[in-house]
Amino acid sequence: MIFACRNVWSRKTPLNILNRKTTRFWQFSTKAVKEEKVKFPGVTESYFTDKMQFIQSVNPIPTYRVMDRQGKVLDPAQEPQVSKEFALKIYKDMITLNILDLILYEAQRQGRISFYMTNYGEEAYIGSSAGLDSQDVIFGQYREAGVLLYRGFTIDEFMNQCYSNEKDYGKGRQMPVHYGSKKLNFQTISSPLATQIPQASGAAYALKRAGNKNCVMCYFGEGAASEGDFHAALNLAATMQCPVIFFCRNNGFAISTPAFEQYKGDGVASRGIGYGINSIRVDGNDVWAVYNVTKAARQLAVEENRPVLIEAMTYRISHHSTSDDSSAYRSKEEVENWMRFDNPIVRLRRWLENKNWWNEQEDKSYRTFIRKEILKSFSKAEKLQKPSITDLFNDVYDRPTPNIIIQREKLKKLIEKYPNNYPLKIFKNEGEDL
């Protein structure tokens, strides 16, 4: 800094780094100095005070909702004017996600797939997907299957990824639920937490430069928001004025760690303000609240090139993953109460029923229908072979490097030497094309 300061003080500086706000710095107020503004370059809007006061907290950020748990709209002005068809698509996607989770969770329990993560209790995030444009780019964590489903990721595509079969876009390289889709602008999921958040800022900057009237949507949990990458990303997005929406799914737990051991401030939304980012907290079990907030955030991002932080409050009904038994750290009763008394699917169904757009009979028959579809897809995916073994070596670089070619050759020879020691049959081409 000392280094650069010489330029700051020089009027002749060719770098125009004196923005309008800091030029005020040279003007001395002619008013009687009652409240003197500070002149430090580090803050521009502060006044001196002779009272010593540590700031402990501000009022907690309220939680925006559109309908109550019974699906009753609180303020008619806040009710989104959506068509029956649109509302039913969201609802059906929520049910589909729910049944998909049931079936794949069971499949993992039976050892048919290696891993799974359900979305129970967080189905209302489909509302955020509905608030976006299909060309908006999504960076997710690993509980955004609903967002992907709404975009048009098919049941087959979900199944193929979880089964690591030859139709998996990821060529069987990543664990289940690490989805990605080029055509749906959904960047492939990775396991390391929060890494996608600064990436989302960078992608948003690229969209802005390209002049696309689109934004980036970035999902993460309240646990991931403790990572350094969260801090880096929000600060970058604010200083670079990136059209990005940060969507924090605050479900109260990071695996077994409850939110009160995760942070001591007012959740995650309050942090956004410290970065100079428009922030809002929303009832994450209210699909319309999530939808409204996302639409409004998108407008801020796209029209004004501003980042927005949304904190959606919810409860993780499910275990963290199939590797977790959450009864070890919370009571079954607590979980059941959430399921029974604040369920995003039930809430939307009541809203639909209030409008006479849906009824129990339709609900039953749709659930039966979609269950059959999912099971059909499930057996289809299970029967497919795994990707070709040669895919183990592809895509590390744009072209295989010499050492990779040599190593592929070594594996080929090894397989020829010990064919009975490898499960060749289940792989496409059975290693013949290595």
Partner: protein
């Protein structure tokens, strides 16, 4: 980066006054060395950019004709063009200028790059291309690399600067877990081929723990990225342009001691040098000597000493240039011819990149080896301040290793 790096810069970095920003010729056209420099350990540390032997090096292209005598440049149509005298930071600056001029999506960012960078590598670029293309970021390495990955994932070209290679570790997760695996994990749906990370590396006389490191060994262990280290201005420009345009994420390490010390006549045109290819700088029949970056000049002097000492001895010197993926064939062919190998790098010995080279050569040239392979590396300690001259694999240590393999 922090207070210590700034005081470090003030100590030996010349502050560029605004009036000099337009024309740097007057400042950098001639090399400025501390005349009082002597190799006595009681003398103050040399000024930044002073590296004994570089200006006298046979590998430095001191004339335009010399610069154009380069078969690798044939296909780029620059051989009948002009050359310009440039030091290393100017040639890097020139490469980035060409990269931005030829690629609308290319941007440069990092800490303090907008005013020209603390080593002057981005001088004038923000004025030329605008602050939306050459801009400062907040002080966050993990953020810089994450941001760059995001841009590259959209198909843009992101040239990120990490102020010193010593400060790249906060971004280690983003580099190793994200950038390197982006294409592979998505099955090729997405990639970050347009990503390049530049970082000044290696010893500088008095950089201490955190202004001297050579982290290439850490990254060489990561499938999916490439690691490149140039030795001179001509090399830096060609390798940097190739790296920016290569469709894989690349870490480009610049030996900071050469920023001002290495001056060459550099073709002003747009040209690239091949990645993954080593260069034989000097042919020989008795010993193969391998290095990269500023170590090349140390090795050159060590070879001179050895060849003076033993009449008739001839050493082959190879500049690896690309650390990952490295050019196994060139080194194997050389060792098959000479039967002896010395590898030198500043980074600590244990698990340093020399270990990888040595193992590969043992596998491939076992029957041809006449003596054990010698590694001449930094000791297995943090990079020390006052003991630097005893720490680095200097010409004496490299000379001694050559003698070891010859006399074995």
């Amino acid at each position: 980066m922090n207070v210590s790096s700034l005081s470090f810069l003030r100590k030996f970095g010349r502050i560029i006054k605004p009036k000099n920003i337009k024309s740097t010729k007057s400042i950098f056209g001639t090399r400025i060395f501390h005349k009082s420099f002597s190799s006595s350990t009681q003398s103050p540390p040399p000024a930044e950019g002073f590296m004994p032997g570089v200006s006298e090096s046979k590998f430095i292209k001191n004339t335009s004709e010399d610069a154009m005598n380069n078969r690798e440049l044939l296909e780029f149509g620059v051989l009948d063009g002009e050359t310009k005298k440039m030091n290393l930071f100017q040639s890097i600056n020139d490469a980035m200028r060409i990269a931005l001029a030829t690629d609308e999506t290319a941007v440069i960012f990092g800490e303090d790059v907008a005013f020209g960078g603390v080593f002057r590598c981005t001088l004038g670029l923000s004025e030329m291309f605008g602050r939306d293309r050459v801009f400062n970021t907040p002080l966050t390495e993990q953020g810089i690399v994450g941001f760059a990955i995001g841009m590259a994932s959209m198909g843009h070209t992101a040239i990120a600067e990490i102020q010193f290679a010593d400060y790249i570790y906060p971004a280690f997760d983003q580099i190793v877990n994200e950038a390197a695996k982006y294409r592979y994990r998505s099955g090729g749906l997405f990639n970050v081929g347009g990503l390049l990370i530049r970082a000044p590396c290696s010893a500088v006389g008095h950089g201490g723990h955190y202004h001297s490191q050579s982290p290439e060994g850490y990254f060489a262990h990561t499938p999916g990225i490439k690691v490149v280290i140039p030795r001179s201005p001509i090399q830096a420009k060609g390798l940097l342009l190739a790296s920016i345009r290569d469709r894989n994420p690349i870490i480009f390490l610049e030996p900071k001691i050469l920023y001002r010390a290495a001056v060459e006549y550099v073709p002003i045109g747009d040209y690239e040098l091949p990645l993954g290819k080593a260069e034989i700088l000097k042919s020989g029949k008795d010993v193969t000597v391998v290095g990269y970056g500023s170590q090349i000049y140390v090795l050159e002097n060590a070879i001179k000493m050895a060849e003076k000492k033993i009449s008739g001895l001839s050493c082959e010197l190879i500049d690896l240039r690309t650390i990952l993926p490295w050019d196994v064939d060139t080194v194997v062919n050389s060792v098959n011819k000479t039967g002896r190998l010395v590898i030198a790098h500043e980074a600590p010995q244990t698990s340093g990149f020399a270990a990888e080279i040595a193992t590969t050569i043992t596998e491939n040239c076992f029957l041809r080896l006449e003596s054990p392979i010698q590694r001449v590396c930094g000791w297995d300690t943090p990079f020390p301040l006052v003991f630097e001259k005893f720490y680095v694999p200097d010409a004496i240590r490299c000379f001694d290793a050559i003698m070891e393999v010859v006399e074995f």
